[in-house]
């Protein structure tokens, strides 16, 4: 074999956006969380918002480690409480662009109520949910997004319950921007986070991401690449928000496509704290303007 070495480097051009002194990070080989962090920092740099005005908030879990690796003001909060913590910042300091990066368990199990009510009130937040279909950090237990038929440490014969359909949930609760991508769709994922950062109100981006150590191992997806191949083979890009059933991720029916895309992009009045002028210029609460969501 006559492969030649690439140029050996010591630093990465995006290192200033990260706490690169903590690299290599603790996440497993083939885990997708690092890719989501990478997409977030690139979106942050492209957002036009000065870095000093970005804030990143995470809950607990492997995904919750995100806040520990980005080189902006960041907070690692209690399990399930990333959104209420972030809301406090966003309301008190509206000049800051607050992003929540956390896991499916953190945001939609223990933190589920915060999630729907922040969307309902169209709070000025960008929420990136790293959905690896299980509780990665604590040993691969089933959570609200574990697909039907998938094996987890608490469902050794396969999950029976229907999972949460997060884009549909976010849309129904009132989010202004809703997208789902996988970490294989890196450019679209970065651009969706960027759209979220630039949009007032509640933006929700679901990032499907391999957890080879727990979800993968239990489901014969031996490494990160095996789960990436599932995404490559099964993902179908759609433009409008598909029906509830079409959005379902199913591990029993392997032919079933996984719908990804920027599904919702509308203007609704974002949350305003109650004050003397709180209801000025707010025609009846909601004003819907559709932005066409294009295929990337």
């Amino acid at each position: 074999m006559t492969a030649t070495s690439a140029v050996i480097a010591r630093d990465h051009p995006n290192d200033p956006l990260l706490r690169s002194d903590r690299f290599p990070h603790i996440l497993c080989p083939g885990c997708g969380i690092g890719t989501v962090i990478h997409c977030y920092v690139e979106a942050m740099a492209a957002s036009g918002v000065p870095l000093d005005n970005h804030v990143c908030v995470s809950g607990i879990g492997c995904s919750g480690r995100a806040a520990g690796y980005v080189n902006v003001d960041s907070y690692h909060t209690a399990h399930g409480r990333a959104i209420p913590f972030a809301l406090g910042i966003a309301i008190h300091k509206p000049e800051l662009r607050v992003t929540v990066i956390s896991g499916d368990g953190d945001l939609t199990a223990i933190g589920g109520n915060h999630f729907i009510h922040a969307a309902r009130r169209n709070m000025n937040l960008t929420v990136v949910c790293i959905n690896n279909f299980n509780y990665g950090m604590t040993g691969g237990q089933a959570g609200p997004t574990s697909p039907r038929g998938s094996i987890t440490s608490t469902a050794p014969k396969g999950v029976h319950d229907r999972p949460f359909n997060l884009p549909d949930l976010a849309r129904a609760a009132g989010a202004s921007f809703v997208a789902r991508w996988t970490i294989l769709h890196v450019r679209q994922l970065r651009d969706a986070i960027l759209r979220g950062l630039q949009k007032p109100g509640f933006s929700f981006i679901e990032a499907l991401s391999p957890c080879p150590t727990n979800f993968g191992r239990a489901n014969d997806l031996g490494d990160g690449m095996a789960e990436m191949e599932v995404y490559r083979q099964r993902c179908r890009i759609v433009q409008e928000l598909p029906g509830f059933d079409e959005l379902d991720i199913d591990f029993v029916d392997e032919e079933r496509p996984i719908a990804v895309g920027n599904f919702v992009d509308i203007d609704r009045h974002p949350y305003q704290p109650v004050g003397a002028d709180a209801f000025d210029n707010v025609p009846n609460g909601t004003q819907r303007v559709h932005h066409p969501v294009g295929e990337e």
Partner: protein, 102 residues
Amino acid sequence: MATIRTNRQPMDMERAHIPQGEVHVIPERCKECGFCVGYCPEQVLAFSQEINAKGYHYPVLAEHKEDACVHCGFCNLICPELAIFTVEIARQGGSGSAGSQE
């Protein structure tokens, strides 16, 4: 992520600028996930024979692919470890055609 191959020569082929990238790797950060090697649209990358301090093989340039990188940036963005990136350089060999055309 497949490369688009076409028999038809685009009309502006002569003028089209296909960038060339120089691949940079930080071996000690790599965890051998394979995302860059597996999904580079020009199959530029392969794994090293050597291992890094943690025992992982890291990306090197595959045989005959030394000039094939088109600086698309995919390997950079998908790498969960920020262990690989490319820098645009003046195209070597002058033809201006990308690796996918060979």
